[in-house]
């Protein structure tokens, strides 16, 4: 099917884009990489009056160091992140995750900002941001504000970004040598949306696990940070070997039933993935 008719604007600056959002309000949709939006338009699931194409706004791209943070422009293509040495040095979890996002042709256009604002519960990048405790930098008519990842992803396809705001960048605390990262996802085929996935970030003091962030995806309407399970694992790290009990996860995850898996199966798979990551860290 073909996209319905819409109006099209291509602002050149963030200020212009904000002006467009103010003017057109809920009649407008922002076009970033287009890898989700264009599909939705082609299927006529979406019928916005106006598309605001932000692909020409240079200031939205780029990967930089800002003090002890890695700052990634919202329009940075996923492929660029995949091959960036700054990212592999300072946010290696992103480097681990990106090759699992769809396929190369999609990643050449898809953007980190687009994925984050779309907030698909089965997407990898939102969970990655939660695991890394990243900050979403938003610009609106009242200026700039920062929103932590856990507060940013609120509900099914719903974020803390206001209708008149634009996500301009993501900032991630730089990884240090006492940190390890883990990523696992279960898919039927490479590049599929995950049945269940896990992004993990850990802090170590020699062989002792001192802090752990477990961000699961496709286990609910948004990425879930399993804080109790994580603190249990840290507390019991020295004693327990691979027989680590992950029963707390039963209470922290409440996934939906769907065609791919029942709720119980998803929780079980989440535990499987967790064990795999922990095992990797032990070796």
């Amino acid at each position: 099917m073909k996209a319905p008719a819409f109006g099209y604007i291509q602002p050149k600056t963030v200020d212009d884009a904000l002006e467009c959002l103010q003017q057109h309000g809920s009649d407008a949709t922002v076009l970033a990489g287009g890898q989700s939006l264009m599909a939705s338009l082609n299927m006529r699931l979406s019928n916005p009056a106006v598309l605001i194409d932000i692909n020409d706004i240079d200031e939205l791209s780029g990967i930089n160091m800002v003090e002890n943070r890695l700052r990634i422009g919202a329009m940075t293509r996923q492929a660029e992140l995949e091959h960036s040495t700054l990212v592999s040095q300072h946010a290696p979890l992103i480097t681990m995750v990106i090759p699992h996002i769809a396929h190369p042709a999609i990643r050449n256009r898809g953007t980190i900002g687009g994925s984050i604002v779309f907030a698909d519960p089965a997407a990898e990048l939102p969970a990655c941001m939660v695991a890394l405790n990243g900050q979403m930098v938003a610009q609106g008519p009242d200026g700039e504000r920062r929103i932590t990842a856990t507060e940013f992803f609120q509900d099914l396809f719903e974020t803390a970004l206001a209708d008149n705001e634009l996500l301009t960048a993501i900032e991630i605390p730089v990884a240090d040598e006492n940190q390890r990262f883990g990523f696992r996802e279960l898919t039927r085929r490479h590049g599929d949306y995950a049945i269940v996935g896990l992004c993990a970030s850990s802090d170590w003091s020699s062989d002792d696990l001192t802090e752990l962030r477990l961000a699961y995806f496709n286990v609910g309407p948004r990425p879930i940070l399993a804080e109790q399970t994580a603190s249990d694992i840290c507390r019991n790290w020295r004693q327990e070997q691979n027989g680590m009990s992950l029963d707390r996860l039963d209470g922290e995850l409440d996934p939906p039933d769907d065609l791919n898996a029942t709720s119980a199966m998803r929780v079980h798979l989440a535990k499987v993935l967790t064990r795999r990551v922990l095992k990797e860290w032990r070796s």
Partner: protein
């Protein structure tokens, strides 16, 4: 408000380079690149399969990188460079791959083939030493209903091998 914030409706003029040639056309704002190539320029080598980015049949090169032409608006390509199967075939860019696909029976109906060739070409450029597993992963976004993929992987692998042999001192 500046001019760039005027809302474009209906149709618009675009100028871009397609297969090395300058092209100027008036296109509907809502037309995607795949349809523009096929309907406005008669370049029907680019195929339309799923129209939502998963099958890979519409894969072309935009500014040197593979993308899904069904997920890009024609008007977004103003000022850019597009290369399709026709251009990349004509200029010999896909010679080795095409010969290998012939030799290994890497195509039957040919519907997926332009997309697969363009994807394989980018694989070889970015991963000149790709093994079979890496070939399969890179090609995972291109669906083939005829061959069962094995012959396709064989063909690409053979091109990787001859590339390696050529590079050996």
């Amino acid at each position: 408000m500046s001019d760039s914030l005027a809302v474009l409706m209906g149709e618009s003029e675009i100028s871009l380079t397609v297969n090395g040639e300058s092209v100027s056309e008036r296109v509907p704002v809502r037309r995607n690149l795949a349809d523009f190539l096929r309907l406005d320029l008669g370049l029907t080598g680019t195929h339309v399969g799923c129209e939502h980015g998963v099958c890979g049949a519409c894969t072309i090169r935009l500014d040197g990188r593979i993308v899904r032409s069904c997920l890009i608006l024609a008007i977004q390509t103003d000022g850019k460079r597009v290369d399709t199967i026709e251009g990349l075939s004509d200029d010999g860019h896909l010679e080795d791959l095409q010969a290998a696909f012939h030799a290994r029976n890497g195509l039957q109906c040919g519907f997926c083939t332009p997309g697969i060739l363009l994807t394989a070409a980018e694989l070889i450029e970015t991963h000149p030493d790709a093994n079979r597993e890496q070939i399969r992963v890179f090609l995972s976004g291109n669906y083939c209903r005829c061959t069962g993929y094995h012959a396709i992987v064989d063909a690409i692998e053979s091109v990787v091998r001859s590339g390696q042999e050529k590079r050996e001192p």
